[in-house]
């Protein structure tokens, strides 16, 4: 294998981000990694679940397979192999941690998540198919368990499932970094906050959820 090829382990050829898009939005692996890192940190900091970055995850998984193949052909005593392998491990960690973080939220707030997801219009869904399936099955497994061990022995209509919903604290404060200037917003103390580019604020999640979804700001 040529040096060049090894150096470009994160294959530098551009990847097609959006296959259905006529304009063929292209993205380099470096940009892809940066985007995933942002998505990962956002997800870790936000109390509610965010839109699933399925395309990024799929592309990155493709890259991982590609990099693993490349690594196979380098002799194991080559220093570069160690370095690249380390890089690969780090990327895998980010993806796994991102997905785990989402599952964790689904498990903690299962019923809330499912109900919210049902309310969202088709183009605003936040969960992947597999995640929704996981949440629904998980919810069912817990309800079955409750029923089997306790509820079936009780007089009917004593248990009100709606009282058991656990909700995330969407008014919890998050650290926000502004990527694109987005005017001002009014915080909980009725003060105006100027969201100028690169400024950093501590704000309740609910107030900035919409901006976060648009990608104008990110969490840190």
């Amino acid at each position: 294998m040529s040096d060049e090829n090894i150096e470009n382990n994160l294959n530098e050829s551009e990847i097609n981000l959006d296959e259905e898009d006529e304009d063929d939005e292209l993205i380099t692996p470096q940009e892809l990694l940066e985007k995933i890192e942002i998505a990962w940190i956002n997800e870790k900091s936000a109390p509610d679940i965010l839109e699933y970055q399925g395309e990024l995850v799929d592309l990155m998984m493709g890259q991982i397979v590609h990099m693993e193949e490349n690594l196979q052909s380098i002799p194991s005593n080559d220093l570069r192999k160690t370095v690249h392998k380390m890089e690969l491990e780090r990327i895998k960690y980010i993806i796994a941690s991102y997905l785990r973080c989402r599952l964790q939220k689904l498990e903690d707030f299962t019923q809330y998540m499912i109900e919210e997801e049902k309310k969202r219009p088709l183009n605003k869904k936040r969960l992947s198919e597999a995640e929704l399936k996981f949440a629904e099955d998980y919810h069912e497994s817990i309800e079955t368990h409750f029923h089997q061990l306790a509820l079936q022995h009780l007089p009917p209509q004593q248990d009100d499932i709606s009282k058991r919903i656990i909700r995330p604290n969407v008014m919890g404060h998050v650290f926000v970094k502004v990527l694109k200037p987005c005017g001002t917003i009014v915080n909980t103390k009725d003060e105006e906050v100027d969201l100028s580019e690169n400024s950093i604020h501590l704000l309740p999640y609910q107030l900035i959820a919409e901006l976060l979804n648009k990608g104008d700001i990110c969490l840190i």
């Binding site: 895998k92 960690y93 796994a96 498990e107 497994s141 061990l149 022995h153």
Partner: protein, 194 residues
Amino acid sequence: MSGQRAFNLLKTHQQSSDRLIDNFNAEDLRAVIEEIKVAFSENHQDALKFQETRDKSLFPMIGYRHALLQRNLRCTLAYLYSRLMKLKDIRWKLGPVINADIKESLTEAEIQWFNNYSRLLTNYMMSFPNGFNIMTDMKPPKSLFIEVKCLCDYGKFELENGESVALQKNSIHFLPRTECEHLIRQGILEHITN
């Protein structure tokens, strides 16, 4: 005393935090459910009595029993739920097989739930093209190889490259992190830092 059993159920559960999971307390659970049933039927009778007599002096007792019933129910479900969360931890730490030790502390329905949860996770991971494993890389990787100390006689452990190492108690090895991560979580190896 009313409500005591439900409190007991949660108290003993909480106090056993040194073990992975405490024994399933079927006795208290049954007693709590029994208490709920009794409170319910007594309320039912009083409600019928009220319809006949319109005697408002029945109200405080009905209110009290209803509160007792709700509290017991809540304690029961909290107890069951908290145990499931512990089982979930066990799944992430020790893998899909529950050892006999833990199994003894569980009731049949919990074992079923555990297996079902395992299956859900697998299904989720299989939804990715190569069955991406989210159970590895639990901590940010710092190096490819790590120094580990073996805490028990595990026997032969084969590595991906075909080499095998004998994991004996108190022996120290230098192994690829990805391959021995699960053994560390299971408490067979200990990661030596510094």
